[in-house]
Symmetry: C2
Subunit: 334 residues, 2 copies
DNA sequence: AAGTGTTGAGCAATCGTTTTACCAATGCTA
DNA sequence: TAGCATTGGTAAAACGATTGCTCAACACTT
């Protein structure tokens, strides 16, 4: 492999000069002549600095780890996309991990973090699997941000306005004349899910509608779980005419159940989801949803990490960008 | 940070001993007493070797880069999952990149590869964006595998039995009495897509059914494109009673179009997809598909990389594991 | 008793960059 | 012309781990 010394030798300069040229050193003092000569040689040889050596010296790796709960969930893909956009602002690369699958390679991830292999860590839906990794990150002072839920005493938690989202969605159903409104919340009692549920409650209260525990079901964020939660809900409460589903994948599952149960959407039952994904537009009936700024959340997380806002600012941060109601065909007047 | 020297000092041994203990050196000769002492100190201090230093010395990073065409596509998530499973066999971590989004950070990815930041490279649906990265990988002799399509002169190409899949699916439609069978192929003229199309053709030929160009449409692997391709197809050929859709996301899009066009599935039109995803089961009607061994492909790619089969063996490799027909509700007898 | 093996461990070079400190040469000021 | 600043560059010490080589001590063999 061609090293910085090779370049230096061929150019008849010392490695330091090459290094400065490559890195665009601020207080760089090198004549335009040598600079051109060196750059030509770099071009010609295709020299690229060895990343290991560089990060050994500078203790920066250019890698940011983002651990999400489930890669296959399109909702999380949005977060990843946002993070990637942020990463390119700061010239970093996002390393995507999956919390569930981590079981197998969790120790490898831990070593990576503990060994200074990443410049920052973004954790979405962190369960206890990652406790050790978190510990290492903290002791190594690696910038850390939680997304949607996490322990505020350890690192900042970034959230979207989930309360507002739940409220908006529910209000929309109420405005369409619904009075018996069920909700399918997200399991695991996650903080953000709780907030969405609170939004539902607040909207009902403000409309002087009763809140009943029997109108609440819970699902994991996948199709199947949404299907079963919907079944459970309607078995208990056949009188429900509209449901709010706290996440997109469960919403699609719920739609499937309603179809199988012979309930037409939206004629018999209206459905509104939280989180928008491409799929919502192409499922039939197309899902009306409250679109959350997932992308922005991913982006903002990276920005916090890279601009050093994580250590100073240990608190719950709620994104300014408001949820957006996207009307499609799954809700009707009653 | 606690380094190997710190450990060595506290244990009263030299760093080499610590290194050998940590790495389980084969020809390791260290007394059980010192070993225990050192290990206790490692435990106590939480020492983890610095990954940059380690990879500088050993020129191995423990990272494998997997670049897929589109992270949000659940089909590719399967590949990623398989690769991750393979990675944990070899104690490596998968770094997932996205070819499309690469536009922005492509140069960073290039540097990573060129700088020896990864131990191997798996490319799915590689377009020209990555040519430079490929070049670097080759010149650095970084193991490289193409998935589904790629230049066989550069590295091995791993494929599934796409021809068989196309044939099986089409035969299934034929067996159900269909004679006018359309196909929505995948754009970009990718090699695997071509093979699926050939399968369609072969099945028709074997059944002495005519092959007509007007029965062929093409879509990108996403919902929207599938929707439009279906529209195009049926505008041209309203007589078609069954379609084969070459990828799952397009199939869902096609389903949406058929619904909007007032064609009932499967009563008026039967649909069969290639590739299975969870969604196929929860969309209504549930999609009948030919399930491809995507997971196995991801797994096998990693195995090839990590066992050094990539340099010797530059050829097209087709996975043994056969496609599997999964019957659901989108195909009916005619 | 001399020779031969084995065990346990240390020394020091090395991987490729970055960066601090330093220096020589030149130009400028007063 | 002495003094000083600027320009353009070099030397060498890190960064932290790995590993080939060396070596002392002891145990066996013959």
């Amino acid at each position: 492999m061609v090293t910085i010394t090779d370049i230096a030798n061929r150019a008849g300069v010392s490695p330091s000069v090459v290094s400065r040229i490559v890195n665009g050193d601020k207080k760089l003092r090198v004549s335009t002549a040598t600079r051109a000569r060196v750059q030509a040689i770099i071009e010609e040889t295709g020299y690229k600095p060895n990343v290991a050596a560089r990060s050994l010296r500078s203790s920066e790796t250019g890698l940011l780890a983002l651990v999400v709960h489930d890669i296959t969930n399109p909702v999380y893909s949005e977060i990843v996309a946002g993070a990637q956009a942020g990463a390119s602002e700061f010239d970093k690369i996002i390393l995507v991990g999956e919390a569930d699958s981590l079981g197998a390679n969790v120790s490898k991830i831990e070593s990576l973090i503990a060994g200074g292999g990443v410049d920052g860590l973004i954790l979405q839906g962190a369960g206890t699997e990652l406790d050790k990794a978190i510990e290492h990150a903290v002791s190594r002072k690696i910038p850390l941000v939680f997304l949607q839920s996490g322990d505020i005493n350890i690192a900042p938690v970034l959230r979207m306005d989930d309360l507002l989202a739940g409220k908006m969605a529910t209000k929309y159903l109420i405005d369409h004349g619904h009075k018996n409104i069920g909700v399918i919340s997200t399991k695991r009692n996650l903080q953000f899910s709780e907030a969405r549920l609170d939004g539902w409650k607040q909207a009902l209260v403000e409309a002087s509608l009763p809140i009943s525990e029997s109108a609440i079901a819970a699902a994991n964020p996948n199709y199947e779980s949404g299907y079963h939660a919907a079944k459970e809900l309607f078995d208990q409460r056949p009188d429900i005419t509209a449901i709010l589903v706290s996440n997109a994948m469960s919403a699609v599952g719920a739609l499937a159940y309603l179809n199988d149960a012979g309930k037409r959407v939206p004629e018999d039952v209206s459905v509104i989801g939280i989180n928008d994904v491409n799929l919502a537009e192409f499922v039939r009936p197309a899902l009306t949803v409250v679109k959350m700024p997932l992308r922005t959340m991913g982006l903002e997380a990276v920005r916090m990490i890279c601009s050093g806002k994580t250590s100073s600012n240990k608190k719950l941060e709620i994104l300014d960008q408001a949820p957006l109601l996207v009307e499609r065909s799954s809700v009707s007047k009653r």
